[in-house]
Amino acid sequence: MKILGLYKNSQIFKIALAIAIVVVCYIASVFYSQMQKLDSTVELIANSNETQLELEKLLSVISIYETSLRSYIITKDEAYIKNRFLSRGKIEQNIKNLKKLTSNDFTRSQHIDRLKKLIDYRFKLFRQTLIIAKSKNVNRLELNSKLLESSDVTEMMKSFVSKIIFSESAKAKIQNNNHQFELQDSITTAFLLVILSLVILFLSFNKMNVDIEELKKANDKLKLLNESYNTAEMTAGFGHWMLNLETSTYTFSDNLFRLMGVEPNAFEPNIENTIKYIHPDDLDYVTKVHKDSLLNHQSTSMTFRFLTPKGEVRYIMGVGSFTKDGNGDLIKIGVNYDITNQYKKTLELENNNKELKYINTELEAFNNIVSHDLQEPLRKIQMFISRLEEKELDLLSQQGKDYFSKIRVAANRMQTLLIDLVNYSRTIKGDKVFVETDLKMVLDEILQDLSSNIEEKKAAIEIGKLPTIKVIPFQIKQLFINLISNSLKYSKEDIVSQIKITSKKITEKEMRDYKIINKEDYYKIVITDNGIGFKQEYAEKIFLLFKRLETDPKYSGTGLGLAICNRIVENHKGFIKVKGEPGVGAKFYVFIPKGDLL
């Protein structure tokens, strides 16, 4: 695996290849020098052999001459000495050859020089012997001594030659041994060379194969990526283009063509062809932005429209930026994003918003009518009622007095209804400013405001420990006014009404029931009364708008009070719960988040 890893690392492979080539070169040079040496050895052996041959030839010529001379002396037949006898031509040729063969060796050439001198002397003896033999008076003694000397010289020559031949053949033998040895060496080197070359060849081939395989894989991956990119462009509704600023050539993605409402590659990608698909009203702007960017190389971002051949208008968000490609050429890459749907939705949303704003203003106007304009005549009716009651009531019959009382009750009820409506609308409207508020102080204020009501009901109100909370002050005041008023309203007539307001710890059950993650996240304030209570099954309904549980006219509710409470608690991102038991009383639980949950 490790080797495979190294194999894949082309840097390491390159280094290995370079080393291998150096080694091969080295071995090749060694091989070359070995071959060179072998060549010279072969030459030396040949030289030695030739030298031996020449020497043998020389000896044999001398022998022939000697024999001829002897034969002549014995027979006196001229025929023995006729045929170029004593011509040294052949021997001179031999010596010349020998000289040439031994020219590069000083000792050997010295040997030959000595040999030449011996031959010269031998020839001298030949000639002297022949002269003696030819003379009329053959001096036998002299002839014999000459012949003896000749024979000695010949022997000497022979032994000298055989010494040279021996030394030559010994040399040749050594050379031959060397030759064998060098041959062996060369074979090993050649074998090594071949093996190494083969290994390199094999590795290179394999590496190439691996590379090609990898290239193919990368290519496949790229193809897949390209395909998925194309699909992604189609799905997401965007297309991209590239401009090489060096070559001034454009490349468009398939989906860019589709965004323009044509088939991919429907035309040659360039400015002239593209501007036909840009909405005429946007054309100047788009070309200006594009051309400016080509000068200052700043990123661009713009919204414009494509006009497709079918006349469809597409809203496009186009961004462009500059970068350099692999060749170092500056290129601009642009992405065009079809925002037609978003644009239409935004437009729709804007319209809806406008409509909503209009409705809101209408509602506010309506609210003003209710809170001010309706209250004005009602207040006057009540005023006149109070005037009549004071001055003219005695003039009416009993039935008239009853009717009149009903008029007063109805007018008062309408007033509370209007006040509640105003209060409710105030909980919906904006300007919700949160302020750190001491609930204890708020409750004290409320008890002041409700003092007449409390006195009338003879209620005992107990205020326990209460926290300081970040709330909308007027709303939180309204909340407790409504809750206490509610308790007062539904109090029992026969016993002293007791109302208790205090903060309590959140129980485990409440955490489970109301999905509270941390006890410390909320304040819990409990309002307990001993009033008429209600059936628990109505617990959720009592917070609904205009929902009233009691139909008895003595409980004159508007059905708004607790709805306002619910609304206010919701405005504080809290929640309100209630537990009731008929004849025993009701418990309201207000949960208001601490900290920044608001």
Binding site: S371, H372, Q375, E376, L378, R379, K380, Q382, M383, I385, S386, R387, E390, Q415, D449, F474
Partner: protein
């Protein structure tokens, strides 16, 4: 203009005829020692006030929602003129909106009264406001005591 001869001079500017009637009837029934001058709108009030010969009132009851010159415009004009610095101004309106209360407080009204919906309350309010120790009320002026509740 209906004028009651007395030492304490009270003005009321209100476009509603009934309210003017209630107000003067209440003053009558209270049998207070004062002189009441009534105005139908802001313009009439201002025309009267700019007259150099008049004796300055002690208290001015000022309705907000009036045709022509509104109550808040009258208030601004009056408070811009140092001649009227000793005149106490009681806003007398049906509205009890936070905005109106705040605006009139900022513009220098002394007290804010919402019109009561029965006659006895009205009498009570007038009596309390007229007999109020203005010196004391003005010196400790703050938004909490500004809004007068019955």
């Amino acid at each position: 203009m209906i004028t009651h001869q007395d030492s304490m001079h009270i003005l009321l500017a209100d476009d509603d005829e009934d309210d003017r009637t209630f107000f003067s009837e209440a003053i009558q029934e209270l049998k207070m020692n004062n002189k009441l001058t009534l105005f139908k709108d802001g313009n009439e009030l201002m025309d009267y006030l700019v007259h150099p010969d008049i004796k300055l009132p002690h208290v001015l009851f000022l309705d907000l929602n009036m045709p022509g010159k509104t109550g808040i415009e009258c208030l601004k004009q009056i408070r811009a003129n140092t001649r009227f610095k000793d005149v106490s101004i009681a806003i007398y309106s049906t509205s009890s909106s936070e905005k109106d209360i705040e605006d009139t407080f900022i513009e220098g009204a002394n007290i804010y009264i919402t019109k009561p919906n029965d006659f006895s309350s009205l009498k009570k309010v007038i009596q309390e406001v007229v007999n109020m120790n203005w010196q004391f009320h003005s010196s400790g002026l703050n938004i909490e005591t500004f809004f007068f509740s019955t």
